[in-house]
């Protein structure tokens, strides 16, 4: 699959930037506006899916190799677990919102507020984006083998 025409490629590489920006916005402002880590993560993944449709798999494979993608997936999940464990280490219980409850970081309705919630959103966005991109990549690279028998 070599991808589509030059027009589609050019437009989609621009649109991809916008989608990534929008995804990042959704992730970062998840605690103030509708959205959050999951929605934002899916949007991030779909930007790469768009690239994959327009340019073909090989291009995306070069841009974001599967090995790195799966590491990002693990990293996102680990970061979220780390937030939980930090809550234990600094506040005494799992998932304790130490940044807000203990340090009172930020003020209401601003970007930096709500303690660990934006951090969790970032971790989840990373995890969801990486993993959903990975599953679509895997599904589309899976070719029918020769062993199909009827």
């Amino acid at each position: 699959m070599k991808g589509m025409t030059i027009i589609v490629k050019t437009i989609s590489s621009w649109v991809k930037m916008l989608i990534v920006l929008f995804g990042i916005y959704i992730v970062l402002f998840g605690h103030l506006t509708p959205g959050g880590g999951f929605a934002g993560g899916v949007i991030l993944a779909s930007s790469y899916v768009l690239l994959m449709l327009a340019f073909g798999r090989e291009f995306v494979e070069k841009d974001l190799p599967l090995a790195i993608d799966s590491k990002l997936d693990c990293l996102g999940a680990l970061l979220f677990a780390l937030i939980a464990i930090l809550g234990f280490a600094l506040g005494g219980t799992f998932f304790f919102n130490f940044l807000y409850q203990k340090y009172r970081l930020g003020e209401s309705l601003r970007l930096i507020s709500a303690g660990t919630i934006p951090l969790s959103n970032i971790a989840i966005g990373l995890k969801v984006g990486a993993s959903l991109f990975m599953v679509i990549f895997l599904l589309s690279t899976f070719r029918r083998g020769t062993s199909a028998n009827k």
């Binding site: 999951f38 309705l109 959903l132 599953v135 599904l139 899976f142 029918r144 199909a148 028998n149």
Partner: protein
């Protein structure tokens, strides 16, 4: 009454998952059931003429009483957010199993995929 329609949707999904013989159809049936349950949960929290459970600047300035008396239930929304992602995950896994099975058997028809007895 909206609950009954929602339950009808659930039952349609169950019918599809139980009766149909095509693997993709079965997956579709399960997906429909998941939609129905998600809708049902959100409906449980709806308040007539309510507002979304998100506080904005004007509500904060006006004092929160207005918000408290009109906001819909945030808890089912949190549950559904979880349930949607779970259903997406199980959809991905199910489709991978389907594709792999198709590669092995060359068909999506479960009546032809029957090596195991009983």
């Amino acid at each position: 009454m909206p609950y009954a329609l929602c339950f009808l949707l659930f039952m349609l999904g169950l019918y599809c998952a139980v009766v149909k013989k095509n693997m993709v159809k079965i997956v579709i049936g399960i997906t429909v059931m998941e939609y129905a349950v998600n809708l049902f949960l959100i409906m449980l929290g709806y308040r007539s003429g309510g507002t979304a459970p998100i506080i904005d600047k004007s509500q904060l300035d006006a004092g929160l009483e207005q918000f408290i008396s009109s906001s819909v239930d945030p808890l089912p929304q949190a549950l559904v957010l979880t349930a949607i992602v779970i259903s997406l995950g199980s959809l991905a896994l199910m489709i991978s199993i389907c594709i792999r099975t198709y590669e092995k058997y060359g068909t999506f028809d479960i009546t032809q995929i029957r090596r195991l007895k009983g």
